[in-house]
Assembly symmetry: C2
Homo-oligomer: 208 residues x 2
DNA sequence: ACCTGAACACCGTTCAAGT
DNA sequence: ACCTGAACACCGTTCAAGT
């Protein structure tokens, strides 16, 4: 509780967890999924393979932790986005942010899906990602409502509005990262998509 | 050329390729990505691991072949869709088809991306998937234009329209398959999304 | 000429042995 | 008490040996 540096003669456990996560992220950035092996993470983080399993249940758990952090960061970024430039500008900014995130971790979606299947429903790291995801969704919804209000617009009053928007933004971000539609400038594509999504989910008048 | 059954005393090479692909698809359906090992494919297809490498360059190549076939089938399905029920109905039907396809092979997107990276640009199976994808995109665009015309609508005249629509449909289909938005009926979600996408990319009047 | 499956170089994960 | 890394049971891929 009051211990300032982890409290073990062997080193700070929390710091080692951090280094493990950083090493994993770096390997993922540099060499893609294939480069991410437990042995190379251990080497880079300055630990042993065995010790990694004291902090993470398995390889998937490392992904989950990385994914969770990434979602939390995105949520913070979305929360800080300006609301006074209109819905379309807000959506374009979220798509940018989402593409940046997808660039590093999108490749993990496979892992994520298999985890969701295998579920171990109790698994803590999975619940964490779920909760962070919910928070992200709420943050997007709030930002959107505020941006619309400033423009004198309202969101359509349907349950499917938010899931549709999130799916659409995700699809567009994935397209940008994967460079489908390479013949389009990606900024222009993001801007068009943002305007199109705005047409799809907002109306001019508040309902009476 | 005139040979009716493959022409080898060892059996029909083409038939064995087919059985290999069928075995791979079945394993994927049953046990997910993790169940798909070369050894189990060989066993199920009634060949040996070594022989599989005579028909496919590597494991990824098997995926590519499966993915290509899946895209070709989807293209056929889209081409056969009725045009006279409006744009939104057409889009909803494509989303359905897309979700079905994604259900089996979406998990392969990871593999696909890595292949695109490593590229071996010459790789034949990769080019095949690319070409099939282009054909799919064109087919969607044609169907869409026709459906709009029957309704007295037109697509917006912007290059980004098709990539946006494809990304959006893909995003929605992925959401349905992954069961995000579990609180929504997936048919309702698909219908709302189709209508929203229609608002996003069509106008009422032909341009003058 | 074609086919097989042991062998090779990995992988994720565990746990006896060290400090 | 904590940490290591050899060992285990796999994997994708190759290629000598069989038929």
């Amino acid at each position: 509780m009051g211990e300032s540096s982890g409290g073990s003669i062997y080193g700070d456990a929390e710091a080692r967890r951090r280094r493990t996560l950083d090493a994993a992220a770096a390997l993922l950035d540099e060499g893609g999924y294939a480069a991410l092996t437990i042995r190379s993470v251990a080497k880079r983080a300055g630990t042993s393979t065995g010790l990694i399993y004291q902090y993470f249940a398995d390889k998937q758990d490392i992904f989950m932790a990385l994914l969770d952090e990434s979602i939390v960061e995105s949520t913070r970024a979305v929360a800080a986005l300006p609301r006074d430039r209109g819905v379309a500008a807000l959506i374009a900014a979220i798509i940018d942010e989402s593409a940046r995130r997808w660039g590093r971790l999108g490749r993990m979606s496979q892992v994520w899906r298999d985890a969701e299947r295998a579920a171990d429903a109790g698994r803590e790291s999975l619940r964490a990602v779920h909760d962070s995801g919910d928070r992200y969704d709420e943050t997007v919804f709030e930002a959107l409502t505020e941006a619309a209000a400033k423009e004198g617009r309202v969101l359509l009053d349907e349950t499917a509005v938010l899931p549709f928007l999130l799916s659409g933004m995700q699809g567009v971000a994935a397209s940008i990262v994967n460079d489908w539609a390479a013949y389009l400038d990606s900024d222009e594509f993001a801007r068009f998509s943002a305007a199109a999504l705005t047409r799809a989910i907002t109306r001019t008048e508040p309902s009476p």
